[in-house]
Symmetry: C2
Subunit: 537 residues, 2 copies
C-alpha cells in the first residue's frame, strides 16, 4: 500500500508541514512552472523534508495532469513527503463516482487528495448557486467516494474565516459534512487573507473544541500576517499547516514555508523537519526562487541574504564582541550567515570586520583602513554598491593592503580598447559584434565575436582572446546578470549599475560595475570577475 | 510653544502613529538618503498624516544634524506630524547637561526626543559595560534634563522582550527609571525581531498593568511577524506604534507602516489618519519607494501592485459578478485597484475583463477573443509578460479588435534600420553613437545622436528623427527602465525582457519588449511607448 504519512521526521504524522507551492504558489504573478520545473520543485521540497507536497490540480490544468502522470510513472521518488492531488467536489446535482474532475483525482494516483469546498454561505449561494444542503452533500459524497477508493482525504474549507464570522452554523455544517464522511484533516482557509492572529487563534481553538476534528490552517498574506496567523493557529491547536516556498501566491501571497518552519523549529521547538534539515532552509529557498525565476527577497526572514546583515556602523564594534546579542537566532541553524555591510553609514569597525570575513587583514593597519574607508565612500557616492558584491570589495581591499606590488601581482590582462556594433538590418535581423584589443602574457591580441547582445558579444570576444592563454577561464561561466538604472544627482546623468554573478562549478562570486554606459558597466564587473578568479586559479 | 501632539487626526494624541523611516528605515541595505531626500520623505509622511516623524540622530550622523537644522530654519513645515530627534542617554559616569550627544538633541530644536536605552541586563553588562544602577541613572538623568528643557520624551526600551524573558526585574527597572523621570511613552522594542504575536501581546498586557505607563511598540521582522506583532500589541493596550515605510530597516526590516495602518483602519476600525487619508496609502508607499530608490514590492499587503490582482482563470467569471467576495477589503479604501492578470493560466474570461479595464471591448467578439488569447499565450511562451505592461497589452488587443484598417490608423513611423556603435577608446573614453533610418509622414529620415549608453543614444537618435515631425513627442520622457534576463528553455539562449515606463507629465504607462539582444528589446518597448502616446496625442 502506498504511504500516506510523512516519513523520517521526528513528529511523523502528528504534525503536517504541507507545501502548496506547486498549486497555490503558482498563482503568483510572474510564475509559470513547466512540468520539469514542477518535478525539480517537488524533489527539493522532499529533500528538505516537508510532509506533504500538493502537486497541482489534475484534470483542470494540463501541466498538472502530466506532472502526476510522470510522478506515477516513477519520475518522482519521494523519501519524506507524500504527494497530494488538489481538486474540487462533484458538480451540483451529479454523482461523485461519475464526475470527470473527481475521476481525474483518482486517475492521478496520488495517495492523498485535498478537496476544496466553499465554507461561506455567500459563496455557496452566490458563486456556487446551490443551497447549503446540496453544498454539504457535494462535500460528503465526494469525500466518501474518495475514502472508499482508498484515498486519504483532507478538506480545504475555503473562505472559512469570513464565512464563520458571517454565518458560523453554515460553515460548521460544511466541516461536519467532510469530517463525518471520513476527511482526516479539516483545513481552515483564510482565502481572502483578511485575518489577524489574535482573532484567528481564538476561532481555531473554538472550532477544534466544537468539532473535535484534526484542524489545519491555510493563510494568505493580505494583512501581512500570513506567517503570524499560521504560527498562532498552531499554538491554538492546529496540527497541519499549509505554506508555499517564499510565500509565493496570489495577491500578497501565502504563508512562507521558510519563515513558518523557522518559527516552528526555532521559536516553538517543534521538530517538524528531519534531523539536520533546518540548516537547508536557506539553500532550498534560494534554489526554489531560481526555479520560479524570481529574484530572492533579500530581506526575507530567516533565509534572506540580508536576514542577518548588520549595517549600523555604531553597532559594529559590539557585534564583533558578541554576535548572538544582536541576532534572534544563530544564523547557522537555518543555513544562513551573519554579514556586516559596508556602506557610507558604516565606519572603520565594520570595514575591518568585513575585511576579516573576506580574508583581508586590516587590523593593525590604521592608515590603510582610512584610505580604504575613503575610497569606498567616494565610490558609493558615485553609485557603486559593495553590499552585494563581495568579490569586488575584496579586490578593492587587497589593492589597498598590498599596494601596486603586492601578492596580487600583474592583472591577468590589460585592455587597450573595445568596440561593439549592433545592427538592426533592413531585413529585420539584429546582429551584435564585438572586437577587443588586449594585452595578455606580453602579447597584444585582437579578437572578435558575435553574440546575442552587446555584453554577450563582448564576453565572447574576450574569451576568444584570453582562453588560449589562460586555461582556468574555461570553467568560469556567467551565472546571473542584473541591471539597475540609478537616477543621477541633480544636474548629472543617470548611471547604470551592473552586478555579475560568476560561477566555476565550485564557487559563486559577485562583482559590480558602475558607468553611464551599460556596456562599460558590464565590462568593469566582468573584469573584476576574471581578476577574482585568477587570484584563485 | 511648539506643538508636541499630532494635529488633524480624529484620535489626536490618544494614539501615536510614529514613523522612523528616516532613522531605523535608513538602516536597510541599499538605502542612503540625502538631506533633500529626507525632507521629501518627511513631507510625504506629514501629508499622509502620521503623528510623529523621527528625523534621525542629530550629533551622530552629519546628514541628520543638517536635516534638523534645515527643518528648524523653516524648510520643513509640518501640518499633522511632530518632528522627533532620536538619541542616546548620557555617557556612563557623565552629566546629562554636559553630554555632547544629549546637547545635540537640544540643539536639533526638535520638540520631541526619543531616547534609546538598553533594557536587557546582558546588553547593559556586556555591551554598555556598566551595572544596572548606573544604566538606570543614565536613563533618569537624561530624561529629567530633557524634560526640564521643555522636551516631550519617549523612551525606546531596546532589546526589551529578550531582556524581559531573561531577567524581567532589570528590564522593568529601566522602564521605571524613564517613566518616573517624566518620559511620556515607554516603547517596548523587539530589537532582534524574535517575537511571535501571542506571546508578545501577553507581555505588553502584563507590562502595561504592572507599570501603568503609556506603552508603545517597535517591532523588527525577523520572524516575519513585525506587522502582526505591532497590531497584536495595539490590541493588548499599546497606544503608540513605530513603523517604517514599506518595512524598510535592518536585516528583515521593520513593521511596514502601510500594512500596520491598513490593519488598524480596515480591521480594527481605528481612525489613526486624518479623514480620507487612507486612500493615499498606495500613492505614498510608491512615492517613498521611489525616493529610497528601491523597486516597490509588488506583493506588499494593501499597497502592492499585485495586492488585489487575481490570476486564476477559474475564478475570473465569479470575480466579474461579485468582486468583494474575493477581496478582503475594497481596494479603493487604501487607494489601490483590483486587477485581473493576463497570463497563460488565464482564460477567455479574464482577458475579456482586462480588455474592459483597458477600454477595449471584446464582449461580443468571440473569434477576436480567441485570436487574442492565442497571441498572448504564444508571446508569453517566448518570454513576454503583459502583467506589468498594460500599454503594450492594450496595443495588442486593439490590433486584434480593429484589424489593420482600424481606428489605430498608420503607425506614427516605420523603421528601416538602426546601428549602434560603442567604443571604449585606447584613451579610456567610452562613446555610444546611434543612427536610425525611419519613414515618417511619407519622408525617409536619417538621424544620428550620441548618448550615455546604447539605449540612450538610440532614443536620442529617434527623437532627432521624429521631433520636427511629431510635436507631441516633446512632452514624453522615459521615467523608468527595467531589465530582466530570462533563462532560455533547454537548448535555447537566454532572452532579455525590458520594461519601459514613460510619462508625459499627466500619465504614466508601461510597455514591454523581449529579444535576445537587450538593445532590440529596448527598441521594441520604446516603439510601443511611442505608438501608445500617439493614440492619445
Amino acid at each position: 500500500m502506498t504511504r500516506t504519512e510523512p516519513a523520517g521526521t521526528p513528529l511523523g504524522d502528528d504534525f503536517h508541514l504541507y507545501d502548496t507551492t506547486l498549486r497555490d504558489g503558482a498563482q503568483r504573478e510572474g510564475i509559470s512552472y513547466s512540468v520539469a520545473d514542477k518535478l525539480a520543485v517537488a524533489r527539493l521540497l522532499d529533500e528538505l523534508g516537508v510532509g506533504f507536497i500538493e502537486g497541482g490540480w489534475p484534470g483542470a490544468m494540463p501541466k498538472d495532469t502530466e506532472f502526476f502522470a510522470k510522478a506515477a510513472a516513477g519520475e518522482l521518488i519521494l523519501k519524506h513527503a507524500v504527494l497530494v492531488a488538489f481538486g474540487s467536489t462533484r458538480k451540483a446535482g451529479g454523482t461523485a463516482s461519475r464526475d470527470a474532475q473527481v475521476r481525474a483525482l483518482i486517475d492521478s494516483q496520488a495517495p492523498v487528495v485535498t478537496l476544496v469546498a466553499k465554507a461561506d454561505r455567500r459563496h455557496i449561494e452566490r458563486a456556487l448557486r446551490v443551497d447549503v444542503d446540496e453544498a454539504c452533500a457535494m462535500v460528503s459524497d465526494t469525500v466518501s467516494f474518495l475514502v472508499g477508493e482508498g484515498r486519504r482525504v483532507f478538506l480545504d474549507a475555503e473562505h472559512f474565516f469570513d464565512g464563520y464570522a458571517y454565518d458560523a452554523e453554515t460553515s460548521l455544517r460544511v466541516l461536519d459534512a467532510a469530517g463525518n464522511a471520513g476527511a482526516d484533516v479539516i483545513v481552515l482557509c483564510d482565502t481572502n487573507g483578511g485575518q489577524l492572529p489574535l482573532g484567528l487563534a481564538e476561532t481555531v481553538r473554538a472550532v477544534k473544541e466544537r468539532t473535535g476534528f484534526r484542524i489545519g490552517i491555510h493563510c494568505q498574506d493580505d494583512t501581512s500576517c500570513a506567517v503570524a496567523n499560521s504560527v498562532a493557529a498552531v499554538q491554538a491547536g492546529a496540527t497541519h499547516v499549509q505554506c508555499t516556498a517564499n510565500g509565493y501566491g496570489e495577491r500578497a501571497g501565502n504563508a512562507d514555508l521558510f519563515a513558518v518552519t523557522g518559527n516552528l523549529v526555532a521559536k516553538l521547538g517543534m521538530e517538524v523537519l528531519p534531523a539536520g534539515s533546518a540548516a537547508e532552509l536557506t539553500r532550498v529557498s534560494h534554489a526554489l526562487a531560481e526555479i520560479a525565476n524570481i529574484a530572492p527577497d533579500t530581506h526575507q526572514a530567516y533565509v534572506g541574504a540580508s536576514a542577518f546583515a548588520h549595517k549600523a556602523g555604531l553597532h559594529a564594534s559590539a557585534i564583533k564582541v558578541d554576535p548572538l546579542l544582536y541576532n534572534h537566532i544563530d544564523p547557522a541553524l537555518v543555513g544562513n550567515d551573519m554579514r556586516v555591510l559596508v556602506t557610507e553609514m558604516a565606519g572603520r569597525a565594520s570595514l575591518e570586520l568585513k575585511g576579516r570575513e573576506l580574508g583581508v587583514d586590516l587590523a593593525g593597519r590604521p592608515e590603510v583602513l582610512t584610505s580604504a574607508v575613503n575610497k569606498v565612500k567616494r565610490l558609493e557616492a558615485e553609485g557603486w554598491s559593495f553590499e552585494a558584491a563581495d568579490a569586488s570589495l575584496e579586490l578593492l581591499l587587497r589593492k589597498e593592503v598590498e599596494g601596486p606590488d603586492g601578492d596580487m601581482g600583474e592583472p591577468p590582462f590589460t585592455l587597450e580598447s573595445y568596440r561593439v556594433v549592433l545592427d538592426h538590418r533592413p531585413d529585420g535581423v539584429v546582429v551584435s559584434e564585438a572586437t577587443v584589443k588586449v594585452h595578455v602574457g606580453g602579447e597584444r591580441v585582437i579578437a572578435t565575436a558575435e553574440g546575442n547582445g552587446p555584453v554577450h558579444a563582448l564576453d565572447a570576444a574576450l574569451r576568444n582572446a584570453l582562453l588560449p592563454r589562460l586555461s582556468w577561464l574555461d570553467s568560469m561561466t556567467l551565472a546571473d546578470y542584473k541591471v539597475r538604472i540609478l537616477p543621477g544627482h541633480p544636474g548629472t546623468d543617470a548611471v547604470t549599475r551592473v552586478l555579475i554573478e560568476s560561477s566555476d562549478g565550485d564557487r559563486e562570486w559577485t562583482t559590480v560595475g558602475v558607468h553611464g554606459n551599460i556596456v562599460e558597466a558590464s565590462w568593469l564587473a566582468l573584469c573584476d570577475a576574471l581578476v577574482h578568479k585568477s587570484l584563485r586559479a
